[in-house]
């Protein structure tokens, strides 16, 4: 399996703290890869080191097969959307897009043609020659996104791309990311929103306090973190059944479902589900559901990172 990005043991230390601590990860080519972590975990610092915006203290980076520190030109094949967005307010929309495309080595004529295509695609045709400052925030985000993808990069690096987007624009972004994947591109994005990661990513890496907590394909991570939780539902309310669930020694705990019709339980480790099923079948009420609960990425995240790590974000300090 080839990798669009390989990070080996990179670290970044600032005066008072370590932002990234001996982090390694591998992003398969053509995949959508999520870097997850609480605020201040070191996601942005990692991405910035990948793009050589900040210089890493140690470790190796192979970006599309090249070290960006030694060979900056490789960055022309990368599209970067930073967490905090910004455009030249006084420039007109088309010019600003063409400018950023030219910085990535796109010829002026091609840049103008592609800019027009993307402007129309994103529904910004009316504002083509308007100044950026006259655009709404959502529209500015679209313009910024165009500047990220216009030069047809092989790798998209998106830092918290969904933050600040309204649901409609989130949908637009999701479609574009999926489109990029279909075209064989690799997409890396960081987020602390687990839903997007769950919907989009094939691979994730969870980091906290600058260290990797776990990484791998989402499916494997789910399987490895299945846990022992089940839901139980009966055909109709039955006091005897409820009494049994509450009293059973097979469960570590049992609690009422959200809508009060069923139960959520966690099995004692080593319990054979067949024994539980038999006991349930002997009850005086028909069983309608006995199923293992797939833990959500959010649950895995919270469990692995731990509540303690979800501290409030460190104040941003100078990044050297």
């Amino acid at each position: 399996m080839s990798h669009a990005l390989l990070i080996e043991n990179i670290s970044k230390r600032y005066a008072g703290h370590t932002a990234v601590d001996n982090l390694s990860l591998a992003v398969p080519t053509g995949s959508i890869y999520g870097i997850l972590g609480p605020n201040g975990a070191g996601k942005s610092s990692t991405l910035r080191m990948v793009l050589n915006i900040i210089v890493r203290d140690e470790g190796r980076v192979s970006l599309l097969g090249h070290d960006p520190e030694a060979d900056r030109s490789i960055l022309r094949r990368v599209g970067y959307l930073p967490e905090e967005r910004g455009l030249y307010k006084k420039m007109n929309v088309r010019d600003v897009i063409v400018f950023f495309a030219q910085l990535k080595g796109v010829a002026a004529r091609d840049a103008r043609r592609e800019a027009d295509r993307w402007i129309d695609k994103m529904g910004l045709g009316e504002w083509r020659n308007g100044k950026v400052e006259t655009l709404s925030k959502g529209m500015q985000q679209k313009v910024q996104f165009i500047t990220t993808v216009l030069h047809d990069p092989d790798l998209l690096v998106l830092d918290e791309p969904f933050s600040g987007l309204d649901p409609v624009n989130q949908e637009v972004l999701r479609d574009t990311v999926l489109e990029a994947k279909q075209a064989g591109k690799t997409v890396i994005f960081s987020t602390h929103g687990m839903e997007q990661a769950e919907q989009l990513c094939e691979y994730v890496c969870i980091i906290a306090s600058g260290r990797k907590v776990l990484d791998g394909s989402l499916r494997e991570i789910r399987r490895a973190n299945l846990g022992n939780r089940y839901t139980i539902e009966f055909d109709h309310p039955c006091e005897a059944a409820d009494r049994w669930v509450r009293g059973s020694r097979a469960f570590i705990w049992a609690e009422r479902d959200g809508d009060g019709d069923g139960w959520r339980v966690e099995l004692q480790p080593g319990t054979d589900t067949r024994d539980v099923l038999k006991a349930l079948a002997d009850l005086d009420v028909p069983l309608t559901r006995f199923a293992r609960v797939q833990p959500s990425l959010h649950e895995i995240f919270v469990q692995r990172v731990g509540e303690a790590a979800i501290a409030h974000r460190r104040p941003e300090t100078a990044h050297v």
């Binding site: 970067y80 910004g86 006084k90 030219q102 100078a318 990044h319 050297v320």
Partner: protein
């Protein structure tokens, strides 16, 4: 196209397209034209004065005064209409005061009977702040009194007039290429204009660089830029781009000056601008080239400082407070301007001309005032170039870190740390 060129092109086009560029480019020649044309148009500079003469002095003094005042010393000098009023001062004083208040006349001159001994002329007027008028009256009265004293000793009026005829002074600069036209006033004016122009352009375009850096920093554009361009190239592209704007503007002005020079005969005839004003504008090519080099190197030096300043602060207000530090070395030569002009080869002027931070202003000023030894000019240029390179290198380090740092304003210690770290 290389990234640096893309940056440069944007900086140039985005500035040249603005209204403020067009306005400032047009306003300056208009302002200069107004400076040249207005004095010539206002008809003898000081305008007309209607004065009354109360003459109780011995015969001759009053006549002499009227003759002297009625023939203006130069085109710029005020012209006078003198009306002689009979009677003694005590009799006419109230009436004259009334006429002044009613604006029938501007004022009156009183020559007392004992003026030859008392040596005092009385001038009463609505406005006594015009030094040209005071000087003219004092001179006319003095000459009248001197003439009367000489006549008392037995000479006649004709002899006296011939004897006390004032001398005209004609001034011209001597340069290394021999004598050149241009009188003292116009030479000083050109030196003044050139130095102030450089001063304003350094500050104006330096602040342009600073604002541009600050905009990219606060709007976080810098992060995207740095993901495509090396920070040092980004800074260079920006500074060179703004320098191109400045050169473009100077180029436009040079065209205006060239047109004015080619039409100088016509302008002199139509508007009465003295020909010396034009001869002072004809700058020696070697001087012109050195001035341009001083300006460009000075621009790089200060633009780099401004770029570092823009990267180190977090808001325009902070930058305004701190820019005094950047400006101080420029303000010094401006404050000492008259001393530099008075003694362009003196120790003070020579030192200020060599110190890299003040030389971009002091040297043009000295060079416009007189011709400076070539060794000094070249030495000063080399020193300035070396300093500009060094400062750009240091500024690049501050810039590289500063544009990505957010939050609170860094302390001096932190900036020092940036310099070492980058």
């Amino acid at each position: 196209m290389s990234e640096t060129l893309v940056i440069l092109k944007r900086e140039f086009l985005e500035r040249v397209r603005t209204k403020s560029f067009v306005i400032s480019t047009l306003l300056f020649p208009l302002f200069m034209a107004a400076m040249l044309l207005l004095p010539a148009q206002s008809g003898g500079g000081g305008g007309d004065r209607d004065l009354v003469l109360v003459d109780e002095a011995p015969a001759g003094v009053g006549d002499y005064l009227i003759t002297t005042l009625s023939t203006p010393a130069s085109e710029d000098a005020p012209s006078y209409r003198i009306e002689r009023v009979p009677g003694r001062m005590e009799e006419v004083r109230d009436e004259l005061a009334r006429r002044v208040q009613a604006r029938e006349i501007d004022g009156y001159i009183y020559l007392p009977p004992d003026i030859l001994d008392r040596n005092e002329v009385v001038y009463r007027a609505r406005n006594i702040a015009n030094f040209d008028v005071l000087r003219d009256i004092r001179r006319a009265a003095s000459q009248g009194v001197q003439a009367a004293r000489l006549m008392r000793e037995g000479l006649n009026l004709g002899q006296v007039m011939a004897l006390v005829r004032p001398v005209d002074m004609q001034t011209a600069r001597i340069t290394s290429r021999g004598e050149e036209g241009g009188d003292a006033d116009s030479t000083f004016a050109v030196a003044f204009v050139v130095a102030f122009l450089i001063y304003f352009m350094l500050i104006f375009y330096g602040m342009n660089v600073m604002r541009s850096v600050l905009e990219e920093k606060t709007s976080r554009i810098a992060e995207v830029l740095v993901s495509s361009v090396d920070a040092t190239r980004l800074m260079l592209g920006k500074i060179v781009g703004v320098a191109c704007v400045a050169l473009f503007q100077v180029g436009i002005w040079a065209v205006f000056v060239a047109i004015a020079l080619s039409q100088s005969d016509l302008i002199t005839r139509r508007f009465g601008v003295p020909p010396e004003a034009f001869s002072a504008m004809r700058v020696d090519p070697w001087v012109g080239a050195s001035l341009l080099t001083f300006f460009l190197l000075g621009f790089f030096l200060y633009a780099a400082l401004y770029a570092a300043l823009g990267a180190a602060v977090t808001s325009e207000q902070e930058a305004q407070q701190l820019q005094v530090v950047v400006l101080l070395p420029l303000i010094v030569p401006i404050m000492l301007m008259t001393r530099i002009a008075g003694e362009p080869l003196g120790t003070l002027a020579t030192v200020l001309g060599m110190v890299p931070f003040s030389s971009p202003l002091s040297m043009p000023f000295r060079m416009a005032a007189t011709s400076i030894p070539t060794a000094q000019v070249v030495g000063s240029l080399l020193l300035l170039a070396a300093t500009a390179l060094f400062v750009t290198w240091i500024a690049g380090k501050i810039y590289r870190v500063g544009i990505l740092s957010t939050g609170k304003r860094p302390t001096l210690r932190e900036v020092g740390h940036w310099m070492r770290a980058a």
